[in-house]
């Protein structure tokens, strides 16, 4: 197991280097140092001397290969530098934002996986009946609504009309639950259609397997078949799809966090995009990629833990 994890980690190194090269090309080579300097000094109406000083200070006067080495080194040491716009340390802001982000993302993530599996089980249990048809039709309807509309309408009905939750904001400690509930509900509902439909397909695939027929022939009850046999085997593709949907959680978080004023990484990213803060976006892209790669490795490990047929060697 350890050997496998180590090998996967080593395999990730060239990928991360590739990502570093790609981000370097995108961010450094498409705009000249002068343009970046003007952007960095935007409010001050810079003179030529100021621009030159900014370029030297940020090391843009060196050769491209030296700049690339510095870029990679900083990324690997998690030295993200300072924001182009506000001048704050990006590393400190990421540390501040990580906790609220993890709280909201974790809740939405576990809530939607749980709700998805439960509804998919219901649909699989009543497969072929009106109940099943109703669930699948609703799923397609839910999938066709854009996430922003969920957020806007959810905020309007639940907090403005029904006054159940505060409109937006965040608090530390236990008080946070009030602010987290609304993003949680909106986040879970907006992702429900896609996941229920997918999980239902996985379960129905397992339903047609030989072992289910054998279990039925033995006289095992339908409920026991569903929960003991089918659910366990359907978990394998579900786990894969869950980790594959991590980038979508990131996307959901961008919107949900900035909308409900949660001081997390997603909200920070949206602010950086609207302010054209390249330094923050660069840091977030690298961090997001790292999380994604770690997530992929974890999936493979989970895969092996759940399915004894999968060999790691």
């Amino acid at each position: 197991m350890l050997r496998y994890v180590l090998r996967r980690l080593l395999y990730a190194v060239p990928i991360i280097l590739g990502v570093a090269l790609l981000t370097f090309l995108l961010f450094y080579s498409t705009s000249t140092p002068e343009q970046m300097a003007v952007r960095g000094l935007s409010a001050k109406n810079p003179t030529q001397d100021q621009i030159q000083a900014w370029i030297v200070q940020h090391g843009y006067d060196k050769s491209k290969s030296e700049q690339f080495k510095k870029h990679v080194g900083e990324m690997f040491l998690f030295r993200f530098g300072k924001s182009d716009i506000t001048g704050e340390s990006i590393g400190a802001r990421i540390r501040e934002g990580a906790l609220p982000s993890a709280l909201v993302a974790g809740l939405i993530f576990s809530g939607s996986v749980f709700a998805g599996i439960v509804l998919a089980l219901v649909a699989a249990y009543y497969r072929g009946t009106y109940m099943d048809r109703l669930i699948t039709l609703t799923c397609v309807l839910l999938m066709s609504i854009v996430s922003i509309v969920y957020i806007i309408v959810g905020q309007y009905t639940l907090s403005k009309v029904l006054k159940l939750f505060p409109v937006a904001g965040f608090a530390d400690g236990l008080e946070a639950w009030k602010f987290v509930m609304l993003p949680f509900i909106v986040g879970v509902v907006s992702g429900l259609g896609r996941s229920v439909r997918l999980y239902r397909t996985f379960m129905l695939e397992e339903m047609n397997q030989d072992y289910v027929r054998t279990a039925r022939a033995k006289g095992v009850g339908e409920k026991s078949i569903l929960f003991k046999h089918v659910l366990k085997n359907a978990m394998i593709p579900i786990i894969t799809s869950v980790v594959l949907s991590i980038p979508f959680i990131f996307l959901g978080n961008l919107l949900v966090e900035s909308f409900f004023g949660i001081p997390g990484l997603g909200g920070m990213m949206v602010d950086a995009i609207t302010n054209q803060d390249f330094a923050v976006v660069r840091a977030m892209v690298f961090l997001g990629t790292l999380l994604y790669i770690v997530g992929a490795i974890l999936t493979d490990v989970c895969y092996a833990l759940v399915d004894p047929r999968v060999r790691l060697e």
Partner: protein, 333 residues
């Protein structure tokens, strides 16, 4: 005056028609189409897609009245008589709303007017073209790239495969939305740039699929037979393997269209969407954030744009499912 760009929509529709006519002569597609014809939901969805296409077509055919005036589409001309009001007005209302001194309206607006006094129905209809362009142009960018690289990687294997796999693994390990945002920040705003950025982010999944399918077909008997007869690699790829990939590719592309159309609305929220002059549902939905907080609530802009978006995406979802069931009944869920 005549604009050469106004020929493009005719070309697109003509090409699509020819392609479908040609495909229906082959047994696989003829059978698939007969299955779709029996599926009532699919027919409804197809009609809806055609209706949206019709509106987009009417909006795309444009010409100039004289040299100096801007080009106006048929849709612009239909709504030319609709007066522009001062500010918001509710559907079918007689006066404007949201201002201290409401003014009587000059015209009748079925869906009301937005903050600039423009007719919401007209704005909503203009969004059809943008949505379909985002779906269509993106596919035109990502599909050839994915087919070419995927087939090369799957067919030749070894170093070519390693190189192409490395390329798309790197792109794929950046979460989609972050890559999209980065590309758009670097490329700048605009409909064509959005399509390019979406194309770069979406070809990866398709390429992986094409590579896998090619890998499966590479060692089949018919390919080996063609090889032993001395058929060139190029001909094997284009004439033998490609037609066998098409069903899977068409299913994936149709199901992917809805996602592409939805992403326009998300990009608008991130202020990376199309400009305000290009009618888009994303911009209308984005404007609704402020409108819902006002008193009285200005809901019609949001409702019109999001239902237009919803219906089109629903139609693509349902039609994509129908195509999947028709072409490959084993995949039926």
């Amino acid at each position: 005056m005549f604009l050469w760009t106004s020929v493009i929509p005719f070309l697109v529709v003509g090409l699509l028609w020819l392609l479908i006519r040609h495909a229906l002569r082959q047994p696989l597609w003829a059978e698939a189409s007969s299955r779709i014809k029996k599926n009532r939901m699919a027919l409804v969805a197809l009609t809806i897609i055609c209706a949206y296409g019709g509106v987009a077509f009417v909006d795309a055919v444009s010409w100039k009245d004289d040299k100096n005036s801007p080009a106006k589409s048929v849709l612009d001309r239909v709504f030319a008589k609709m007066p522009v009001e001062e500010t918001y007005s509710a559907p079918m209302a007689k006066t404007t709303t949201g201002v201290p001194h409401p003014k009587p309206l000059e015209g009748k607006h079925l869906f009301g007017t937005d903050g600039n006094g423009r007719d919401v129905l007209y704005q909503t209809l203009r969004g059809c073209k943008t949505a379909l362009i985002i779906g269509g142009l993106t596919t035109l960018i990502s599909l050839p790239l994915a087919l070419l690289l995927g087939m090369l990687a799957g067919y030749y294997g070894k170093l070519v495969d390693d190189g192409i796999q490395y390329l798309y693994t790197v792109l794929d390990s950046i979460p989609n939305i972050l890559l999209l945002v980065t590309l758009l920040m670097v490329l700048g705003n605009g409909l064509d740039k959005i399509c390019l950025a979406l194309g770069i982010t979406t070809w990866v999944g398709l390429c992986r699929l094409v590579r896998g399918e090619t890998l499966k077909h590479r060692d089949r008997e018919y390919v080996r037979a063609a090889k032993s007869l001395g058929v060139s690699d190029f001909r094997i790829l284009t004439r033998h393997i490609l037609p066998n990939l098409l069903p899977t590719v068409i299913i994936t592309v149709t199901l992917g269209l809805s996602g592409l159309i939805l992403s326009e609305a998300i990009l608008s929220y991130l202020s990376l969407g199309v400009t305000n002059e290009t009618g888009s549902w994303g911009n209308m939905i984005d404007a609704a954030r402020v409108e819902l907080a006002r008193e009285p609530v200005l809901w019609w802009n949001l409702l019109a744009a999001s239902s237009a978006l919803f219906v089109l995406v629903w139609a693509f979802n349902v039609f994509g499912d129908a195509i999947r069931d028709a072409i490959d009944p084993r995949l039926r869920s």
